[in-house]
């Protein structure tokens, strides 16, 4: 899951796609491709709706040998909820499209749904529909809808020069868990990530974060994307590292599902939120959009890029 080659295949692809798509002016879709969620404004409603979709595919995102079905179900929904968290939203419902392979017996599918429904119940996110098919490989696509007060969604493009950069939690645990396997203490970080929904709402309501996103593909790549979206560059120092993980895993590992956010320097950001550390790691600057420096040296965007030619 963790690749080690430079490049921006996905960024380029999305730019090309975006250039071909024009959102209707004055329409109900107020943000489209390129953020954690699309934003839709229902007629007459006091809320904006957030939409995110996430694929979870056999032999791409997991293998049948390594992952338990209830872990996969949990993780499928957790990834979508993490996108809602990143925009400061409250989840409303989810949809699940499922492609079942011949090796997915009824008991396996039941356990997969147990994982989905356990997290869905905890986060008040009812599963209200989806699609079903048989396929050669297992795959699923989860759609999560969330809501924020009108115009209040946290976005990637709102950071301003001088804003301070923060991350929640400690990074690299997911990559460590994947490398060490399911008997390791870090495995749960990889297999059962926690969407930071309460933190996301706190960023929106209390800290008035100027930008936010979730760390799904690795800090180096995700911060690069936030910088690109905001038209700025970033200077950071080393983020907090999960015990036992390497600096590489913390910087480029991906799938930690912590939140990366920026706030005005005048905002007092607490050192923890609900027991979760909030750590200042750097500052946003004017300069070449997308550039990231770690301890004064360029940090390549080595995180996971689904469309990079490897």
């Amino acid at each position: 899951m963790v690749k080690r080659s430079a490049g921006g295949g996905e960024v380029q692809f999305l730019e090309r796609l975006r250039s071909r798509i024009r959102l209707p002016k004055g329409g109900q879709t107020v943000a489209g491709i390129g953020d954690d969620c699309a934003i839709f404004r229902p007629r007459g409603s006091s809320e904006d709706l957030l939409f995110t979709t996430d694929l979870l595919l056999e032999n791409v995102h997991f293998t049948r040998e390594t992952h338990r079905p209830e872990e996969l179900g949990w993780k499928a929904l957790a990834r979508g909820l993490s996108d809602i968290a990143a925009m400061g939203g409250e989840p409303r419902f989810c949809l699940l499209s499922l492609a079942l392979a011949s090796w997915n017996g009824a008991a396996w599918v039941d356990r997969f749904y147990e994982g989905v429904l356990a997290l869905a119940a905890r986060e008040s996110t009812p599963l209200v529909g989806g699609d079903l098919a048989h396929a050669e490989r297992f795959g699923c696509d989860i759609v999560v809808c969330g809501a924020v007060p009108w115009g209040k969604a946290l976005r990637r493009d709102g950071a301003r020069a001088g804003d301070l950069i923060y991350v929640s939690g400690v990074l690299g645990g997911s990559a460590l868990g994947l490398a060490q396997g399911r008997r390791s203490g870090a495995w749960r970080r990889h297999a059962c990530p926690e969407p930071r929904l309460e933190l996301g709402r706190f960023l929106r309501t209390d800290l008035k974060a100027t930008a936010a996103m979730d760390l799904s593909d690795g800090l180096s790549l995700d911060l690069h994307r936030l910088c690109l979206a905001s038209g700025l560059r970033a200077r950071i120092e080393m983020p907090p590292v999960f015990a036992g993980a390497s600096g590489e895993q913390a910087l480029h590992g991906g799938e930690d599902y912590e939140l990366l956010f920026t706030a005005r320097p005048s905002v007092r950001v607490p050192s923890t939120f609900g027991g979760l550390p909030l750590t200042r790691i750097g500052t946003m600057h004017r300069g070449r959009p997308g550039a990231v420096e770690l301890d004064g040296r360029p940090l390549p965007a080595l995180g996971y890029d689904h469309l990079r030619q490897s």
Copy 2:
């Protein structure tokens, strides 16, 4: 795509799933699993939102040898729009999750998007987001959001005893096109189906249809589902058949994406709508829920069931 074995794998699966899921009472999700779309009620809005997801998978729904990429893109979106049409909705936006295989070069992907975007532009359904991954096989999941006035969505479960049953268009063309291949006159019926959006709105606003759904899996199976949902049985005669198609293809073929609907007997249903025939094929009756009779004899539900053991 057209299977010939009896059974109700998907119906049973959905029943089992539905029994495990309880929509919160008084919540914003007013219909869930089992209809063409899920229905969501945004706070303060005068509209209900409709959501549908549809998988389109290599070697399941198509093969790379037989289908052009722009046809696949069109069809992916058309299938979702057809679900919106079936509930009388207006499309609002769509999301597309794409799993790209190694054989999907940049030109192929561009042509696929051309198909999606051509129909999206025609039906004012902007593509606002999605997900991207590489995979062993091409697959996509399209999510379409539509809207209807509050409480006005056409559903499968609203038919009443005595209601008359209608279909739009002529049936079996898609199955014929698939059987004859892309040089045949029927191929376009298979590869580029037309979502009946205007008809769906007309059913809602003018005919006050009591129930409606789209014919995606074959009349025999889809009418069985409508009957099950409404707790009734149906007696029909032969529907209109696409020129050259067999009666089997018209009854069980699937993927015609015409609309099946019921209306009170007092409603005057015109014989055509925008040039499309509307044909009365039968009547809803009290009796064993789900049972369908054709010309007085039981009609087995032989349409395409994604979860049937074949």
